[in-house]
């Protein structure tokens, strides 16, 4: 057991870790679990369905009486659209999500190897498979772009280190291509990642450089070159996005989001945004801080984790408000938990290594229990959570209604459908005045009230109901004739406002309402409509950057490391190189 050649003392092969990740997540994703249990899966499939039909036209008439999809980076949606041509939309979403989930341990492994030795890095990668935040974002939040861009960006950072530190030309191109790909999947990850992840890595490269006989100035210069290339690339690849955000900066009244609240003021919210995503990793926090502080090499990583952790707490501390200002009211903070976890995992891997060395099987059993418990809690929360989404609702009848008898001449709205709304939008020909993507909303009936979707109006209190009333008042202007109701809470308002119940579906669960005097919908003029050349760029560059990244990864193999050259420093050491990357 204590022999160096025994299993627990060797790094776990990355292939094995990926296989474990696949064994756990592939069945759940093949079951299309996120489509039923997550908030955003239907939303991403809706975006993808538009690309599947109109690849080069990002103007989507189906929400908000018309909006531009250039307001959201398109890469994952375009990949879903491509794959859906072969296997269908739901399945395509699952496949792309599975790729993201499998990339998480790969990215964690590569990133952790920058900070700790290979064995600790392998433990970190293995634990990432069981991370509560991964399960939370995959099955509960359904945030595919975050899930995809985070590992891509962490892998890019490994190349960023290599290029900055060792001037490996291949690493520069692969790193930049992966950065563009990550940005094409989710721009927010890139923007925050530049500070929270890239700066610590730059610091590490700058620290390691002189010790390996390289000029620190050169390291920094190379890093700046990498950053400049990436910035220029992201500027071009996402140009239509930047145009849309400059043309229509987000000025709407902030919409409340639970992740922005003080988690300590509500037990269910605390559970949802702290206990579940961190799981039993919470027990390791003191050790992470102590261990991270005790090793100079890890201190910057610790600080990055701490800052990200504080931001991830949302309104539980004033810190995010201080640094983001008004942007605090636009951001949601659950993604910071994923990033904090990924930043903490190298240190956790190190702790695990030490515990296994010290206590052998008992430590492994305990850590295994904690890992499985964390994953189990996140999966169980899908059932126990009071915030259960309604994505699994059967909306076939509503879709069928909208697609017959010329009903698609009019616009429609849903009430009480929650995140089943995108499912209707995906399959119905008619357009809606509602939509799930808050940043693309330009209709004054939505932006002036500080409430989210009409379909969930009641959860935003007076603001939500006033926003809904404003839209219903202008029903004739928008051609809003049909309303589907899954929550009888809204019935009285519809009756008093002059709508009449016309059909009932799903044993009375869903009702269709109509207003008799509404004229057919007409196009609502908008200056947010992208130019044709923007559609062309949008259809080519993001996907092109991902294809370029794949080609470069295949054509330019990573330099092989000499494992026997790995420097392993006793874990108690607190000065000098701790577990630096080996050189051939």
């Amino acid at each position: 057991m204590n022999s160096d050649s025994s299993f627990p003392r060797r790094p776990i092969p990355l292939g094995v870790i990926v296989m474990i990740a696949a064994a756990i997540h592939a069945p759940l994703l093949i079951m299309e679990l996120p489509a039923r249990t997550s908030y955003d899966a239907n939303f991403h499939m809706f975006f993808a369905s538009h690309y599947a039909q109109h690849w080069f036209n990002p103007w989507n008439e189906k929400w908000f009486a018309g909006f531009s999809q250039t307001t959201y980076p398109p890469l994952v949606h375009q990949w879903i659209a491509l794959v859906s041509r072969v296997i269908g939309l739901n399945e395509a979403f699952s496949v792309v999500m599975l790729i993201a989930v499998l990339l998480i341990p790969v990215a964690t492994y590569g990133f952790a190897k920058l900070w700790v030795d290979e064995r600790a890095a392998s433990y970190a990668a293995l634990l990432s498979v069981f991370a509560g935040t991964v399960a939370f974002l995959t099955y509960s939040a359904g945030q595919l772009p975050t899930m995809m861009s985070a590992p891509l960006y962490f892998i890019a950072l490994s190349y960023f280190y290599r290029w900055s530190h060792s001037a490996e030309g291949g690493s520069l191109w692969k790193g930049v291509a992966l950065t563009l790909t990550a940005a094409s999947a989710h721009h927010v990850t890139l923007i925050f990642g530049a500070v929270l992840f890239a700066l610590p890595v730059l610091w590490l490269a700058a620290m390691d450089g002189p010790q390996d006989g390289r000029s620190r100035v050169a390291v920094v210069a190379r890093a700046l070159a990498f950053a400049a290339l990436s910035a220029a690339g992201v500027g071009i690849v996402l140009l239509p996005y930047w145009i849309s955000i400059i043309q229509h900066p987000i000025t709407q009244i902030p919409i409340p989001h639970a992740s922005r609240s003080n988690l300590l003021m509500s037990a269910p919210i605390f559970m949802n945004y702290f206990i579940v995503p961190y799981g039993l990793l919470i027990l390791a926090f003191p050790f992470i801080v102590i261990r991270g502080a005790s090793v100079p090499r890890l201190r910057v990583l610790l600080l990055a984790f701490w800052v990200t952790f504080l931001i991830g707490l949302g309104g539980t501390t004033p810190f995010p408000k201080w640094i983001f200002g008004r942007a605090f009211e636009i951001l949601t903070f659950e993604r910071f938990i994923l990033w904090a976890t990924l930043l903490a995992l190298p240190i956790v891997g190190l702790l695990v290594e030490e515990w296994v060395d010290r206590s052998g099987g008992r430590a492994m059993a305990g850590i295994g229990f904690a890992a499985v418990g964390t994953l189990a809690l996140a999966m169980g929360w899908l059932t126990w959570s009071p915030f259960r989404p309604t994505g699994g609702l059967n909306v076939d009848a509503a879709v069928e209604f909208l697609n017959r008898d010329g009903h698609d001449q009019y616009r429609y709205m849903t009430l009480g459908f929650g995140n089943a709304l995108p499912k209707i939008s995906t399959y119905a020909n008619a357009g809606s005045v509602d939509g799930e993507y808050n940043s693309a909303r330009l209709l004054p009936e939505m932006t002036n009230y500080g409430a989210g979707q009409f379909t969930s109006a009641k959860y935003f209190g007076t603001a939500g109901m006033e926003s809904l009333r404003a839209m219903l008042k202008h029903a004739n202007h928008y051609g809003l004739k049909f309303i589907f109701v899954y929550d009888p809470y809204y019935d009285p308002l519809l009756v008093f406002a002059g709508w009449r119940k016309v059909e009932t579906y799903n044993s009375g669960q869903i009702t269709a309402w109509s207003k008799e005097d509404v004229p057919p919908a007409r196009k609502i003029a908008s200056d947010a409509m992208p130019a044709p050349w923007e559609g062309l760029l949008w259809g080519i560059l993001p996907l092109g950057s991902s294809l370029l990244a794949i080609v470069l990864m295949v054509l330019i193999p990573d330099r092989v490391r000499a494992v026997d050259n790995l420097v392993t420093i006793p874990s108690t050491a607190d000065e000098g190189v701790y577990a630096r990357e080996a050189r051939p």
Binding site: V289, S294, T317, K458, G461, K473, P492, L493, F496
Partner: protein
């Protein structure tokens, strides 16, 4: 550094969490829950009501022995599918009316978010000191009981069979009802132009009615179009008259050359029940000194009306409609039970009112529409 950094991280994190806790009202909540002043006692009670923590709210009452907890809950959370059952307490404001050493009167304005829009409820609450703690004397909930009885109802209902899609060309449909706008008046308000008036169903069948108005500028070009929305009774029985009001926020009369009115009437199935009497109507002042039209609604039918809306139009000495206001009643209309209502009237309008007409719109869960 080895010891400093963990200490620093720990202390700063704890400090930040504490700051946010205080900022979020955690400290105030803690103090309020101690109910050391009449203000805190009422705030604590209303906070518990807001979070629907009925056990704790009930325990805060000085007179909890006078009535059952269920009656207290019913008083606040509503019953019988009333509008209150579709409401949640969004915010509140408490201020003193009278304060003594051992008792005080506090006034609380409860802002409810409801299915039909915001609702305000102003109540005066007596507060008593018991030891070091102040407790609220909650007005004993009174629920009228209807004696068991049989109410004969001759259901009168209209159903419509329209022209079928397979009918030959030339097979005529049933005509839409004949509906007429009998009066229209454009009123200038500080922040808007308001069109008020009345519409009558002159036909012998029920009509679905919606009134739209378009403001035209000096070039006779449309400036804005709005509809009557919920400020009208959309279903009008034969010879029934409904007031309507159409608001144009952000416009002034001087910008308007003319108004184009458009009344849409369609034949719809309808029922002649329930019949709701509006009793004891009079102009009055509310506790805050605002002008209101008060009265009570009596459901003369045998089935509960879950939500009622009062629509009132006011006439000047010349018989012209000068204002239309509305109010939703948060209690259900149980058969034969009088339920009070009050609708706001602007002060400048109140002085010109010579007469008024009240109409009741209703929603019943079993009807749905």
């Amino acid at each position: 550094m080895k010891a400093f950094l963990p200490l620093f991280i720990g202390l700063v994190t704890a400090g930040l969490v504490a700051m946010a806790w205080v900022e979020s009202g955690g400290l105030a909540l803690h103090e309020m829950r101690s109910a050391g002043t009449p203000q805190e006692a009422v705030e604590a009670l209303v906070t518990d009501i807001q979070s629907r923590n009925w056990d704790r709210a009930y325990a805060r009452l000085a007179n909890s022995n006078d009535f059952e907890k269920q009656a207290f809950i019913r008083d606040l959370a509503g019953s019988s599918g009333s509008l209150r059952t579709y409401s949640s307490l969004e915010s509140f404001k408490v201020w003193p009316v009278e304060a003594g050493a051992d008792d005080a009167t506090m006034r609380v304005r409860l802002n409810w978010s409801s299915a039909v829009g915001p609702l305000d409820d102003v109540r005066d609450l007596e507060v008593k000191k018991e030891g070091n703690v102040w407790k609220v004397v909650w007005p004993k909930p009174q629920f009228a009981k209807v004696p068991p009885q049989v109410i004969p109802v001759n259901y009168l209902r209209w159903d419509v069979i329209g022209r079928g899609p397979t009918d030959d060309w030339g097979v005529q449909n049933v005509d839409n009802p004949n509906v007429r706008i009998t009066s229209m008046n454009a009123v200038e308000r500080p922040d808007r132009v308001v069109i008020v008036g009345e519409v009558v169903n002159e036909d012998t069948v029920p009509a679905y009615v919606n009134v739209n108005a378009t403001l035209l500028n000096s070039d006779s070009k449309p400036m804005d179009q709005e509809g009557s929305f919920d400020m009208i009774s959309h279903t009008l029985l034969p010879r029934q008259v409904s007031p309507y009001r159409i608001d144009f926020p952000g416009f002034h009369l001087q910008q308007v050359k003319s108004v184009r009115m458009d009344v849409k009437a369609m034949l719809v199935p309808a029922s002649a029940d329930p019949v709701i009497a509006v009793t004891d109507q009079k102009m009055d002042k509310d506790p805050l000194g605002k002008n209101v039209l008060r009265g009570a609604l009596v459901n003369q039918s045998g089935q509960t009306v879950n939500i009622a809306q009062v629509l009132a139009d006011y006439y000047d000495a010349n018989g012209r409609v000068i204002w239309v206001s509305d109010g939703y009643v948060d209690q259900a209309l149980e058969p034969q039970v009088a339920v009070p209502f009050a609708v706001d009237v602007p002060d400048d309008v109140a002085s010109k009112i010579h007469n008024y007409h009240v109409l009741v719109n209703h929603y019943s869960i079993h009807e749905g529409s």
